[in-house]
Structures are given as C-alpha cells and as structure tokens.
C-alpha cells in the first residue's frame, strides 16, 4: 500500500501506541478524582499538557484539550462569538477554510451574526489588505487558517495576527494542517486561539487542542464539570492527551529533516508528472506551500475515477477534504481560486508523509501516467 493522504489522517506511530497502551494498562482513574491513582493520571495529563504547550511556545494553562480539530474550531468560533456578542456581531474569515470553520460561521449567521468570507487570489492566498478593509467596529473575531488542507497554501497569518492585535480583535487560526510540518509558534503567529489535531501528526484520533491565549474571552462549547479550567467539560482523556504529546514531540524532533526530504519528494513528483502527462495544472504552485501537499488538476478526467484506479493499484489519495468524500459538489477551495467546475472535478490531492519513499513516488507517477491516458481515451471532453 502506498499512502498519500496524510492531510486526511496519519498512521499512529508505534511509539505513541506503546505509550498509550502502557498508560491504559497500568494507570487508571479519573484525572479529577481524589485518590492516588487518579493523582498519577492527573500528573500524566499535566505533564502532557505542558509538553504540548512547549511545542508551540505556550504556557500549560493556555492549552484546552478537546476531541479534535473540528471541536477546537467550533469552540474557538462559537466560544468567542458568544463571549463577545456584547461587542458586536461581525466575523471575518476566508472562503477556503475547513468546513468546521465555514459551517460554523454559517450557523452563526442563522443566529444573527454577520460574516465576511474573504476571497483568495488564483494562487490560493488571502490578502491581508482585504482583511484590514473588512474590519468594522463590530468585528469580534478574525479566523484565517494557517495552511489550507487541500492545496497546502500557507496563509499570511502572522501579518493578519498583528493587524488583529492592533485593532483589538481576537484572532483564531486553524493550524491543524501545519503542526509538525512547519513551525507553529504562538509568538510568530500572533494568534489568540489556535486549533490543533492529534491524528494529523501520527497521534491518536479523538483528541485535539485549542490554544487559548491568557485573557482571551471564550465561552465553553461543552459545559458541565470544571475540567480544563471550565472551558471544556468531560472526563479527561489522559491516555490520548499523552499520546498526542508524544506524537507532536516526536514530529518536532525531526521536523526540519523530514520537511526537507518530503519537499524533495513532492517536487520531484510534480516535475515528473508535468513532464510525462500533458494538461496538468498544479493548484497553488505559485504560493508558499506545505512541504507535503500536491493538488493536481488533470484536464478532462474525473477525479473520483482517478482515485478509484489508484485505489485498485493500492495507492491511497483523495480529492480534498475527507469529510465531504462522496459529496458530489466540487471543492469550494478550488472554486474560490477561480477554477471552473470541470477543473475542480478533475483534481486530486496527494499528500506525502514520513513513511513516503522514493519508490512510492516513482510508482505513483507511473500509475498516474497510465491511468490518465486510459481515462482520457474514454473521455468525452
């Protein structure tokens, strides 16, 4: 099997599984309970929280554990909107955000909030000047993702963050796709709220984090017990938090080296594909991109047909966000970049990872060459 869908999810590392297995076998208890074993569970939880905090340059008290990236995004956006509705009811985001941001903003619109969805240019980038123009005295939150999950295009969050800061507006960034691939540092991003997800960095599923800068107004999404300083109720999933912290530490240990190697593989892949297959467009190629992501449009062939052919050859890829697989509508990200619906329908995403080898890339290029020619031979376009 050749797995080229690391932006959807990643295999959990055996080191991480071992940590979690050990913890679950030897330590148990409710991390908020009284007695000895529970205190040890709490110690593990707090050590892991501190480790995750360290990885992004935050304080442990600024880390709220959630069930994943989607919940983190919902907590950030709904939580800020609720906490700040006295200030105003306007939010700014972009048209290329993950559905966990877009759908949440749309939901807030039904509740009387007003949302500006900024466009992107043909390279898939949000323009900070547009953000500035969209700001009103009513603006309570700006939410712009760190890098896009489909194209890998890195957004100018640092500039947008300081701009938001100057206007006294809370800034949220969805860094689910950047963690472990490029540096995610609180001080550089200038964000008040940052969403992270464990299963994208070879950690367990069902766990994520929202960084909440000290003093940021935020209303909880899930109320109940006073876990996570009252910002997220529910018995703490300490084995998963420990797994996440192990995964992110491991990822950061070798990030620079991995990124260089993976960029090399990705670039070779794109060059060879462009050389061997005509009518290929690399979406977002003109931008600063994540090392591992390649978004490819093959003129005149349907993306899902490419994917099924790849699948039959044991190559795993996807057409964009996994959560909309099976939906028939073309990618909102690609349409926002100005592609027409047929082009969007002809696009697939290959996202590499730490297990990806030179041979994987060679095999993938060979397979794609054959598949595209085959599908074009039956295409009506």
């Amino acid at each position: 099997m050749i797995y080229l869908d690391h932006n959807a999810t990643t295999p959990i590392r055996t080191e991480v599984l071992d940590v979690m297995g050990e913890l679950q076998r030897t330590l148990f208890g409710n991390a908020s309970s009284y007695y000895g074993p529970a205190r040890e569970a709490r110690a593990v939880l707090e050590k892991s929280r501190a480790e995750i905090a360290g990885c992004i340059g935050a304080n442990p008290g600024e880390i709220v554990c959630t069930s994943g990236g989607s919940e983190s995004n919902n907590l950030a956006i709904r939580g800020a909107a609720r906490a700040l509705r006295g200030k105003g009811r306007h939010l700014i985001t972009s048209s290329i955000e993950h559905p966990a941001v877009l759908k949440t903003c749309q939901d807030l619109e039904r509740d009387g909030y007003r949302v500006t969805y900024l466009p992107v240019d043909s390279r898939g980038m949000v323009d900070p000047a547009e953000v500035e123009r969209a700001i009103t005295p009513e603006t309570l939150l700006i939410s712009i993702m760190h890098a896009n999950n489909e194209t890998g295009v890195i957004q100018p969050v640092s500039i947008i963050g300081s701009m938001a800061g100057k206007h006294g507006i809370v800034f949220h960034t969805d860094a689910v796709q950047t963690l472990g691939k490029i540096p995610v540092q609180v001080s550089e991003i200038n964000a008040d709220l940052i969403s992270l997800s464990s299963h994208k960095v070879h950690g367990p599923k069902g766990i994520g984090v929202l960084y909440v800068r000290k003093g940021t107004p935020l209303h909880p999404l899930i109320t109940g017990g006073s876990q996570e300083r009252g910002l997220r109720a529910g018995t703490e999933n300490f084995p998963a938090v420990a797994g996440f912290s192990a995964a992110v530490s491991l990822a950061l240990n070798t990030m620079e080296r991995d990124a260089a190697r993976i960029t090399g593989l990705r670039d070779r892949m794109e060059t060879e594909i462009a050389n061997r297959i005509r009518g290929v467009k690399i979406n977002g190629a003109g931008s600063n991109r994540l090392p591992n992501t390649s978004n490819l449009c093959f003129k005149g062939v349907d993306g899902e047909s490419i994917l099924l052919h790849l699948d039959l050859k044991g190559i795993c890829a996807s057409s964009g966000s996994a959560c909309s697989t099976g939906s028939e509508s073309p990618s909102h990200v690609l349409l926002a970049m100005g592609l027409d619906p047929h082009q969007a329908q002809s696009t697939i995403r290959l996202s590499l990872g730490r297990e990806t080898s030179e041979q994987d890339i060679t095999a993938t290029v060979d397979a794609l060459t054959m598949i595209i020619s085959r599908l074009r031979s039956i295409s009506s376009l």
Partner: protein, 157 residues
C-alpha cells in the same frame, strides 16, 4: 475481516449511515474495462446524443447504429465518475442487440440490477447511460422521420 465487509454491504441500503463507496466486482470490472467505448462517424443509420448530469458535472456522448430496427452497435465516451462509467458501459451492453422498442423500455433499475447494485448516492449516475441511449434513439428516429419526409417530398410531383 470478512464479516465487517458483509455488514458494511448490508448497511448500504440504510440511508441513515454516511457516504459509502463500496463498488462490487461487476461494477469495478465495467469501470476498469468499459465495454463499447468509442465513437461513430455520423451517418444515416446512426443516432447520437450528448447529455450531462447537472448534479455532478458528468458528461457523456453516445452513438447507436440501427439495422432493421435493431441496435446492432453502440459506442460511448464519458467524462464521469466510476458510477457513470460503469453504468454507461452496462447500459450499452444491455441495449446492444435489442430492437428499438425493447431498448426504449430499459430503465436505470435494469442497469443497476445487471450490475448487482451500486452505492445509494451513486444511483443518479445510472441515469446518465439510459438517458443518453434514449436520446440517441430519439435522434435516430427523428433522422428517419426527416429522411422519410424528404423521400416523400421527392415523390411529390
């Protein structure tokens, strides 16, 4: 893991579960080796149609050749998803050799049955092949009517 897959297959029918993309072997066969791919030169005995599915952007072209009211040959080209390709291929197989009258009674259900089923949310794709074929038959009949009309015209003094 055989049991999981079985269960998974069953649950395809259950519209309450999420999107499922589990094509059976017949569908995969028609997808990887679509029958009757190709084009035909326009001609007196040839019907042609170009149809699109507005839901998903799929598009297909289909040609039939008719001799003595029998569809003797059929060709198609498709820009579409696996469901569209497989159902179109199967539709051409079913129609080939039928009389025009018989062919006009083919439905998308016939195609799906012949394929042994396709995932629920892909069913609309199965319409494409049938729609194209019916359109091609119409095109052929129209051509015949016009030719006959011309013949009749010629017969006039």
């Amino acid at each position: 893991m055989q049991d999981w897959k079985d269960l998974y297959r069953q649950s395809q029918a259950d519209e309450t579960t999420g999107p499922i993309l589990f094509y059976n072997d017949t569908v995969l066969d028609h997808f990887t080796n679509p029958r009757n791919v190709g084009e035909m030169e326009p001609g007196e005995r040839v019907g042609f149609a170009l149809v699109g599915d507005p839901t998903c952007g799929d598009q297909m072209k289909l040609w039939i050749r008719v001799e003595d009211d029998i569809i003797t040959d059929i060709k198609f080209r498709s820009f579409g998803c696996p469901g569209a390709i497989a159902t179109s291929s199967m539709a051409t197989e079913l129609a080939k050799g039928l009389s025009l009258e018989e062919a006009r009674e083919l439905t998308d259900d016939d195609v799906i049955t012949a394929l042994g089923g396709i995932p629920e949310h892909k069913k609309h794709c199965s319409l494409l092949g049938i729609t194209a074929m019916q359109a091609a038959i119409q095109d052929y009949l129209l051509k015949q009517m016009m030719a006959e009309a011309e013949d009749t015209d010629d017969d006039l003094p």
